[in-house]
Amino acid sequence: MIWQLDLFLLILVVICAVATITVKDLLSATIIFSAYSFLMCLLWAEMGAVDVAFTEATVGAGVSTIFFIAAIFRTTRRSKD
């Protein structure tokens, strides 16, 4: 574990999390959420939980992004609130 790398990744995770809930465009929110999942995957792998990192990469960054985009195709693109 390198604490500088941990801190850097955690700051990026927090930025991505805040950006996901603030941005108005739903497709942008999905892509930023995918980046959040990938950063979490890097963080798990860096902490030594390789199995969790693998799951996060396949499910979080891979399949769930496609599911979100498939759901967005059935809605209007910008949120109303």
Binding site: V50, T55, T58, V59, F67, A70, R77
Partner: protein, 171 residues
């Protein structure tokens, strides 16, 4: 030049040769990697769930590039339902079989009574059998979720048609 989202969606061609060739080349390698993750799961990171998701993602990629009807020719809905249930049955079946043969639930060493090899190596191979079941179930359920979400439950059209019908509603 700025164009609206609808115009951009209308410009997406239904058959893109670069996209289709890339996907046709990538899908076999993704599936091979998924099988490797399942089979090698008890020696390295990975296992039934992750390998199943990778296998499911390969078919989802196929459906994204070629459309939902083409992916249903590749893997029919009946096969999908059959293999999803077979996967769940393999997992619970082996677990209950262990319990019936005198061990605990999912205690693979009890399977010695079926095939007399070393109980320790039965534990390794039992995990492999269970992970094959998990992989089949997860792969088919992921594909099924994508089919239902992309076609709003009708299983007749993919995301290309979804964008076209939304344009009709706007006009």
């Amino acid at each position: 030049m700025r164009i609206s989202v609808q115009e951009a969606r209308d410009r997406i061609p239904h058959h893109d040769i670069i996209l289709e060739t890339t996907v046709r080349l990538m899908v076999p390698f993704i599936q091979l990697y998924g099988l490797y993750v399942i089979v090698h799961g008890h020696y390295s990171p990975g296992g039934g769930f992750q390998g199943g998701v990778i296998l499911g993602a390969s078919v989802i990629l196929f459906a994204l590039a070629f459309g939902l009807p083409a992916s249903q020719e590749y893997l029919s809905e009946g096969t999908n339902i059959l293999m999803a249930n077979a996967g769940a049955l393999i997992f619970t079946g082996i677990a209950v079989l262990c319990a019936l043969l005198g061990g605990m639930f999912l205690d693979y060493s009890a399977l010695v009574k079926i095939l007399p090899i070393d109980p320790i190596s039965w534990r390794s191979h039992g995990i492999f059998l269970v992970e094959v079941g998990v992989g089949m179930g997860v792969m088919m359920i992921m594909i099924s979720i994508y089919w239902d979400m992309a076609s709003a439950g009708h299983l007749d059209e993919g995301l290309h048609m979804a964008s076209a019908s939304q344009t009709d509603k706007v006009l």
